[in-house]
Structures are given as structure tokens and as C-alpha cells.
């Protein structure tokens, strides 16, 4: 009887933790999507998000947190494939620039200026050619 109660209690606590953990992640993505639509956050060819100009602390911390998660994912894959984290991130950057920037959103290649995506595809760096074929 006690074990059943404690099991139920543990399950409830776990569910609660899960909800707590999921909520900020959802909010973070929403913050970034809004900032992208506003033209203050954009994808970069290096595989990370960048900030244009000055943004609120919320946006900055959301971008930082997401970039840390991306780097962790790039690091994992890079180790598996025996390549540098930079290469893994840059190849992913080719993909995000090619397929995940909507018209009107901003993007940046290298240390160049922020550009706004028009109706046509983004002119990708040369090394991306093989990735988008």
C-alpha cells in the first residue's frame, strides 16, 4: 500500500518536473521565432544563430541557450564522424541557410553584413555546393 502511494507520488513529481522542463523550452523557441520574424535574430553560415543589433535580455539568453545546445549536438556528431566541430556546424549551416530561412528573415554568411532573404534562394558559400546537391 505504501509502496503504491510512493510510486504514485514519484510519478506525479516526475510528471511535474517534465512539465517544468518542457515549458521553458517551448517559450525559448517562441522567443526565437518571434525575434526571427522581427529581423533581430537570424541563421548564420557557421551553423549558429546570430543577433543583429541590440535585443532584450530574453532574446539574448534564448539565443545563447540554443547555440549551446546546437554546439553540443555538433560536438557529438563530429566525434562520431571524426571531423571538427566547426566542419559539422558549417555543413549544418549550409542546410539551414538552404532550407530553413523564410523570405524576409535575416541571415549572415561569414563575418559579412546581415542580409534579408528575398524571393530567390540564398547564395551559399562555395563549400556548400556539395551539401545542397
Amino acid at each position: 500500500m505504501t509502496s503504491r502511494i510512493s510510486r504514485t507520488a514519484i510519478a506525479a513529481v516526475l510528471l511535474g518536473l517534465g512539465a517544468l522542463g518542457a515549458a521553458p523550452a517551448m517559450a525559448q523557441d517562441a522567443v526565437i521565432s518571434a525575434a526571427k520574424a522581427a529581423g533581430t535574430v537570424g541563421e548564420q553560415a557557421d551553423g549558429y544563430l546570430g543577433i543583429k543589433g541590440t535585443v532584450s535580455g530574453d532574446v539574448r539568453s534564448a539565443v545563447d541557450a540554443l547555440n549551446i545546445k546546437r554546439r553540443a549536438a555538433y560536438t557529438d556528431l563530429a566525434a562520431k564522424r571524426n571531423v571538427t566541430v566547426q566542419d559539422m556546424a558549417a555543413v549544418t549551416g549550409c542546410q539551414t541557410l538552404a532550407g530553413r530561412v523564410s523570405q524576409g528573415q535575416i541571415y549572415r554568411i561569414g563575418s559579412g553584413e546581415w542580409q534579408t532573404k528575398g524571393a530567390g534562394p540564398i547564395a551559399l558559400p562555395d563549400y556548400c555546393a556539395a551539401a545542397t546537391r
Binding site: 562520431k80 559539422m88 555543413v91
Partner: protein
């Protein structure tokens, strides 16, 4: 018996000379007139991109929360 040894020596000497002659003919190394250009760097780079392409696609597809639009 002595005659046989003499023939043996001659044959060995002759075959030795023959081998030396063949070797002389075969191992003639001349430097190429133009330097051989092997541009491996670019190819390796492209191969890395090709190899990682699917990983990058999978990463985005399996972790949409890392790539919000």
C-alpha cells in the same frame, strides 16, 4: 668435373651480367618534366561536406526544437 665447374661459373657470371643489364634498363628514373599536381585539399573538403550532409539533415529533422523557424 673441372669443365663443369667452369661452365657453371660462366653461366653464373653471364646471368649476373644479364640481370645487371636488365636492372639497368628497368630502373631508369627520370624526373617528370612538369611537376605532378595533386590537389587533394579541395577534394577532401568536398568529401567531408558530402559525408556530413545526411548527418546534418537528420540532426535538423530529429531535433526541430534546436532549429526553430
Amino acid at each position: 668435373m673441372r669443365y663443369g665447374i667452369w661452365i657453371g661459373r660462366t653461366t653464373r657470371l653471364a646471368s649476373g651480367l644479364l640481370l645487371a643489364g636488365m636492372a639497368g634498363g628497368c630502373i631508369q628514373v627520370r624526373a617528370p618534366e612538369k611537376p605532378i599536381e595533386i590537389n587533394l585539399n579541395v577534394k577532401i573538403q568536398q568529401e567531408v561536406v558530402v559525408r556530413l550532409q545526411q548527418d546534418a539533415k537528420d540532426l535538423i529533422q530529429n531535433n526541430p526544437e534546436l532549429f526553430p523557424q
